[in-house]
C-alpha cells in the first residue's frame, strides 16, 4: 500500500514540476510551486522522511510564496512606467 502512495505522490510531483515549467506567468508559477512543495512534503512523508517533509513545508508554504510575490510586485512596479504592468502601480501596502 505504501508503494501505491509513493507512486501517486511521485506522479503528482512530476505533474506539478512540469506545470511549473510550462507556465509563463510568475504568479501562477508561484501557485504551482506551492502545490509542488506540498506534493514533495507528502512524498517525503510516505518515504518515512518527516524531517525533510517539515523543512519543505516550512519553507514552501509561506516564505517562498511571499518572497516571490514581493519580488514580482517590485519588478512590475519598476517596469510599470515603461510598458504597462499587469497591476496598477501604487497599491502596495
Amino acid at each position: 500500500m505504501t508503494d501505491v502512495l509513493i507512486v501517486v505522490a511521485l506522479l503528482l510531483v512530476a505533474g506539478a514540476a512540469t506545470a511549473a515549467v510550462l507556465n509563463r506567468d510568475p504568479v501562477r508559477q508561484a501557485l504551482v510551486l506551492s502545490f509542488l512543495g506540498l506534493a514533495l512534503a507528502l512524498l517525503f512523508t510516505f518515504l518515512q522522511a518527516p524531517d525533510v517533509a517539515l523543512s519543505q513545508l516550512a519553507v514552501g508554504s509561506a516564505v517562498t510564496p511571499l518572497m516571490i510575490l514581493l519580488t514580482v510586485r517590485k519588478v512590475r512596479r519598476r517596469s510599470g512606467n515603461d510598458h504597462g504592468a499587469d497591476e496598477p502601480a501604487g497599491r502596495e501596502r
Partner: protein
C-alpha cells in the same frame, strides 16, 4: 552561436550524462531493500547518545560540523541579501498605504499568530525527540510573525518587529553554535563533540549538546528569515526609486537612507553601484533616464 549548434552541445552533454547516470543507477543498492550499512551505524550511534530522532543525531552530533557549514551558508545568504537590497541614496522611503482587511481574516490571523509561534517553538524544542528541529521550527516561527502582515499591513508588522534585535539574534545564533563547539574543546574533547550528559531517551534534556545546537540554529534561522523578508518587504512596499511612482506626494517621506554611512566617506566612492541593480550613481533625475536606457538594452537582447 546558432540554435542548431546549441542544440547539439546540449544533446551531446545530455547523452553523456544519461550514460553516466544509468551506470550509476545500476551501482545503487536496490530500492526499498533491507540492507542499509550507513543507516544501521547511524541508528546505533544515535541510540548510544540517547537521541530518539536519528536525523537530529546525524545533523547535530555525527555531522555537527556539516551543519555549521550550512548555517554559515544561510548566514552569508541573508547578509548578501541585506547588502544588495539596502536603500541606496537616490531611493526614498514612503509610508505604505494601509490595507483593508476583512475583519474575519484579521481575527483569524491574530488568533493564529501566537499559535503558530508556539508550534514553531515546539518544533525547535523537540528536535531531538520528534521530526523537526531548529531549521524547520525557526522558519515556522518567522512565518508566525508575518501573520501580522496578513492581519493588517506592513506598518503593523514594523511595530512589533525591532529589526536590530533580529539582526543581533541571527549573529547570536551563529555565535552560540561555534561557542558550543569550542566548549567541547575546552572540556578536553574535539570541536563540536557531544560532551554533555546524554540524559534519558525521549525527554527534552536527552541528546547532550543536540538540543543546545538545535536552539542555536532555531534562533539563527528564525532571525535570519525575518531579516531576509524584511528586506524584501522594504523593497516591495516602502522603498521607491526615482521616477518609479509619480503619484506619491506623501509628506511623511523620509529623505535620507536609513543605513548609516561610513564616517566621512562619501557613499558613491566606496561601493560599486551597478552590481546589484542596473543604475548609475548620478543624481536622481539623471538616473531615471539611465534606467530607461537599461530597459531598452533588456528589450534588445
Amino acid at each position: 552561436m546558432s540554435f542548431r549548434f546549441r542544440l547539439w552541445v546540449f544533446l551531446v552533454g545530455a547523452a553523456g550524462f544519461a550514460v553516466l547516470f544509468a551506470v550509476a543507477c545500476f551501482g545503487l543498492p536496490a530500492f526499498g531493500s533491507g540492507h542499509h550499512p550507513y543507516g544501521v551505524r547511524a541508528v546505533r550511534a544515535s541510540l548510544n547518545h540517547h537521541t530518539a530522532n536519528v536525523i537530529a543525531s546525524v545533523n547535530f552530533d555525527l555531522r555537527a560540523f556539516d551543519t555549521l557549514g550550512e548555517e554559515t551558508i544561510l548566514f552569508a545568504a541573508v547578509l548578501g541579501a541585506v547588502v544588495l537590497l539596502r536603500q541606496t541614496q537616490d531611493e526614498r522611503r514612503k509610508t505604505p498605504e494601509p490595507a483593508v482587511v476583512h475583519p474575519r481574516v484579521r481575527r483569524f490571523a491574530l488568533l493564529t499568530l501566537p499559535l503558530a509561534l508556539l508550534v514553531g517553538l515546539y518544533v525547535i524544542a523537540h528536535g531531538q525527540i520528534s521530526p523537526g528541529g531548529g531549521f524547520q521550527g525557526g522558519v515556522v516561527t518567522a512565518t508566525a510573525l508575518h501573520l501580522l502582515y496578513v492581519a493588517s499591513d506592513y506598518r503593523a508588522l514594523e511595530r512589533v518587529r525591532p529589526l536590530t534585535v533580529y539582526e543581533i539574534g541571527e549573529a547570536a545564533g551563529e555565535a552560540a553554535y561555534v561557542v558550543t563547539g569550542f566548549a567541547a574543546v575546552l572540556a578536553g574533547s574535539a570541536f563540536l563533540a557531544n560532551v554533555l550528559p546524554f540524559g534519558t531517551l525521549a525527554t527534552l534534556s536527552s541528546g547532550g549538546t543536540v538540543p543546545l545546537l538545535n536552539a542555536a540554529i532555531g534562533l539563527e534561522v528564525a532571525s535570519g528569515v525575518v531579516v531576509l523578508l524584511a528586506r524584501f518587504l522594504d523593497q516591495a512596499v516602502e522603498i521607491e526609486e526615482p521616477g518609479e511612482d509619480e503619484e506619491s506626494g506623501d509628506p511623511r517621506e523620509i529623505e535620507k537612507p536609513r543605513e548609516s554611512q561610513g564616517p566621512g566617506k562619501p557613499r558613491e566612492s566606496e561601493e560599486p553601484r551597478g552590481c546589484g541593480r542596473p543604475k548609475e550613481s548620478e543624481g536622481p533625475e539623471a538616473s531615471g533616464a539611465s534606467r530607461d536606457d537599461d530597459n531598452r538594452d533588456d528589450k534588445r537582447e
